[in-house]
Amino acid sequence: MPYLDVRAVEKSFVTPRGATRVLGGASLTLDDGEFVAIVGYSGSGKTTLISLIAGLLAPDAGEIVLDGARVTAPGPERGIVFQQYSLLPWMTVRDNVALAVDVVDAALPAAERRRRTDEFVALVGLTAAADKRPRELSGGMRQRVAVARGLAMRPKVLLMDEPFSALDALTRARLQDELLAIWTARRTTVVLVTNDVDEAILLADRIYPMTPGPGAVLGPPIEVGLPRPRARRHMSLAPPYQKVRQAIVEFLRACRRVS
């Protein structure tokens, strides 16, 4: 039985102009410690799918099971890194991370929680900025805080919703490398949603292409098969890289032609 099992979830939204069927039976499976990416065009329903896994939305049909338990509500075991960071602007970097630590490690004494908080802040390289507020940080630094907060939830699966899409290309590359290093060290189970094929190949073990909506579904997963630890340099020249990239791009292109 897979660790995370998303079974044929459907979701429609009712708008004044009628109902829109966003997801039309999307399925995916994930093993413990695996890094899976979902790649698709903007607006195809990726965020809806991640919100369903997070429990922030309820599916109209189908179900989601994590580690044997059905998902019915949001919870820290499905930590999420939002696209727009969603840091609380009235709190410092440390307090934003502490919010998660204080909930997940509520049983620990305050000094120990503080130590753990600082550990997560250090993990994303923000110790020097720990007392700053989000508005004083660059986009890249803000997203680092969001990643630290997500990891601080000690989630069974970390959900990342286009975490780097709002960043400039150079910062995005740097954060991808950092995420790769953190994941290699911690092996957290991750579902990453992205519209960047190269980002997906660099980071993921398996990639699910998503058909463009309405009624989006996930295509058959594509194994990346590149050896770890990975490094950005030279990787794009490796034959498996080219093969995976071509498979995804062709799948997405074919879907678009049909729809």
Binding site: P74, G75, P76, I80, S86, L88, W90, L99
Partner: protein, 256 residues
């Protein structure tokens, strides 16, 4: 908007001179009972230059009178915030609470202080608590409504963070809902203070309690019209200062 220093001072000064000119002209032509600026100053200077003298209950320096009024406003305002803030949060948080009480609030909101005051006198049988009651009742609405709007306009993103972390109701309130709505709440506080200051004059005029409004009414009855103008100017100046003060607090708060 920022222009060189001199013109920013010159134009308001010009406006002031213009108004004083019209005032003088009016007092000499159409409204001969209206004291001219010069006469107003001559008859009021003691009240301004010795703001804290006290000759009798109703004959006191302008500083003393203003102090009484501010004290009364302070009490009523504080009461307004203490009642209005929780009601505002309830309205913003609970759909049911909103549907139950919003019609009543919309109904009570436009009632003038002049209408509440007699009721206050009936209930409390004393002018002081009646005045405080009236101020509180009239001043609390902007706090109620702004707080409710503030709570309802909290970004779903912040609420989602709380939901994912499964924050307790208490933590959700203290960590997310209160800080997120604070700028709105404070705008409500600022508007409420303005209203409280508006109400003070009416309530003092009707109850005859010592204060700037009571003084105004007494001087009208004693036919000392220059002191009416003195009171009006004092009321305006204090209202302006209060608003500026709250504005300053507000910008500091929003800078956080």
């Amino acid at each position: 908007m920022t222009r060189p220093g001199p013109s920013r001072l010159v134009l308001p000064l010009l406006g002031l001179i213009l108004v004083l000119g019209v005032w003088t002209a009016l007092s000499q032509t159409v409204a001969t009972d209206l004291p001219s600026p010069a006469k107003t100053w001559a008859e009021s200077r003691r009240y301004v230059l010795e703001p804290f003298f006290k000759d009798g209950e109703m004959n006191q320096g302008i500083g003393r009178l203003a102090f009484y009024s501010l004290l009364r406003v302070g009490k009523g305002y504080l009461l307004a915030l203490l009642i209005g803030t929780p009601i505002g949060f309830m309205l913003g948080l609970s759909r049911k609470f909103y549907e139950t009480f919003d019609p009543i609030i919309q109904f009570l909101r436009p009632i003038s202080p002049l209408a509440w005051l007699p009721l206050g006198l009936v209930i409390f049988r004393q002018s002081e608590p009646a005045a405080v009651f009236t101020i509180a009742l009239c001043a609390m609405w902007p706090t109620v409504i702004n707080t409710a709007v503030g709570v309802r306009s909290i970004s779903q993103d912040y609420l989602n963070v709380g939901r994912v972390l499964r924050l307790s109701r208490f933590r959700m309130l203290t960590k997310i809902i209160v800080p997120a709505s604070l700028p709105y709440v404070f705008t409500g506080y600022r508007l409420s203070l303005g209203l409280a200051w508006l109400v003070i004059v009416a309530s003092e005029m009707l109850t005859g309690t010592p204060g700037i409004g009571g003084f105004l009414w007494q001087e009208y009855n004693s036919l000392v019209y220059s002191h009416i103008i003195l009171s009006v100017i004092t009321i305006g100046a204090i209202g302006f200062l209060l608003d500026r003060l709250m504005g300053l607090l507000e910008t500091r708060l929003k800078a956080v």
